[in-house]
Amino acid sequence: MDKFSHLTATAAPLNLANVDTDKIIPARFLKTIKRTGLGKDLFSALRYNDDGTEKPDFVLNQAKYRGAQILIAGENFGCGSSREHAPWALLDFGIRCVIAPSFADIFHGNCFKNGILPIALPPEICAQLMADAALGHNARLTIDLENQVVVRPDGTKIPFEVDAFRKHCLLNGLDDIGLTLAHAPAIDAYEAKMPAWQPAITGV
């Protein structure tokens, strides 16, 4: 996983509530055995016409947002399925940070596993950032994870909350599995005490 510490980039405004994971990446694009290459299908239905041509009014099709690395969205972003293809598609497009009033739980967790920082901020703050984002690449936002602030184009600093453990993992690009395996003796001890009634799945 790539580290995340500091990001200064263009933010794209996507002022829609309840953007679900089917909207982020429709199921027909999940037939892959890879994590990469999904960026071209990100927001497919919003982004392309039926004949495959781009919809010029969709935000990520506009020249000033093609290089956006931050997305500002409506409440409950990422609701729906557990597909990690959603953050993979965002990442493959180049998005490293999503700011919204709220996120769905599974999507929120999946972002951290892929070096994407989801930031939840009150709706009125998101509205200000949405207005900043509407200015395009003349108004870049800075995300400072170490100090937990979003810096607006006018220099105003907006503090945000982030889970300390997840912050630590993002800042250092840490692999959870390696961390957990350091506790292997505790897992072995737990397994040694498991109830006898719980059957193993054998003989399939």
């Binding site: 309840n18 429709p26 199921a27 409506g74 399925s81 996120f103 897992i187 193993a200």
Partner: protein, 470 residues
Amino acid sequence: MAGTTPRTLFDKVWDSHVVERLPDGTCILYIDRHLTHEVTSPQAFESLRLAGRKVHRPDATLAVVDHNIPTSDRSAGIEEPESRLQVETLERNVVEFGVPYFPVNDPRQGIVHIIGPEQGISLPGMTIVCGDSHTSTHGALGALAFGIGTSEVEHVLATQTLLQKPAKNMLVRVDGTLPPGCTAKDIILAIIGKIGTAGGTGHVIEYAGEAIRALDMAGRMTVCNMSIEAGARAGLIAPDETTFAYIAGRPYAPKGGALEQAVAYWRTLPTDAGAQYDKTVVLNATEIAPQVSWGTSPEAVVPITGAVPDPDAEPDDARRAQLRRMLDYMGLAAGQKLAGLPVDVVFIGSCTNARIEDLRAAAAIAAGRHVAAHVRALVVPGSGLVKAQAESEGLDKIFLDAGFEWREAGCSMCLGMNPDKLTAGQRCASTSNRNFEGRQGPGGRTHLLSPAMAAAAAITGALTDVREFS
């Protein structure tokens, strides 16, 4: 302290699975059962392989194919190359890593959330995960069951644990008796309509009350299945005699003395008197009518007697934009009545509603009637065993005589990863769980409802109040 502070069902299952609590409160949570399928596992197995890691407990893992497979005759294999590659990749992985597997032509194959309970693999008090958000289904047994992403699939494969912080407790109590014509599906759609798609975010929902207690296990699974549509990663129902009777005799369930020991433990799981919930919502079942969704979010739901709302009445900009987009996508107008809206396709299936009880409810409406001439209607059983049971009861004949298609088990038109999908503009009455844009096929329009309501729509060719069918 355990034993002195009253605890909820969720607290008890959580506490008994904490391997270690890290200084910041993150827990290493032990996972008893890991179910896996072809779509969300290939990248996880690939990463294990690259890191030289093994599956920690193959005997706590079960793999099955469900999302991608055709529901027509499968003896000749899978035609679609990308789907075939995912299935073949899973088949290579289960051999390489020694994971138990139900292949496509095994009679036990089916939708992962149907077969876990059906096989007695999902049991009360367990932690159960799967790379699929509808893992919440298994909470109907009193298990803590939730969907995970592929990185977490890999984490569970490698360690049999997850790094988690406890969710908050939410109680949804449904008092009273459900009126005739209403089902578990109507209960959960009414709940989502009331609390919204983010109403349960950050929480685990425990469903309780007279109307929940009265449900059979299939109904409880339907309710817990759609917890994620209310934003909750997991939904739970306390195990009781209905649960224990369901489990007894299932292939992988404990037997004899082990079952007695297990039941004695399971009886300790229900929430203690006086335990606190962070949030409580109460519904009266007597006020629930058959539900139908009109929009592209599961919260966009009304009774079949209702009408499409007016976006102009919504004060919030982002929400108003979403409502307008919904009406545009669904081809509906503000104020339009739902009853009588013509449908092109009817889908009876999915992990929400493809158990034998669901098929019986649909067959009871279909018996002696015929699907409207302009409608394509599919019945897709949740597993090979559900299909066999239905056939032994003659339900297949009822459906076929009525003009329904009788298919093989799989996820099918719930998400259109296999050839069963809507074409642009088609309107579908569906017993599945999500009505998102393009969910059942690009441009397809989904109306969520119960199996009986779906069967009624197939017969009349339009959204119909099933209570009008006597």
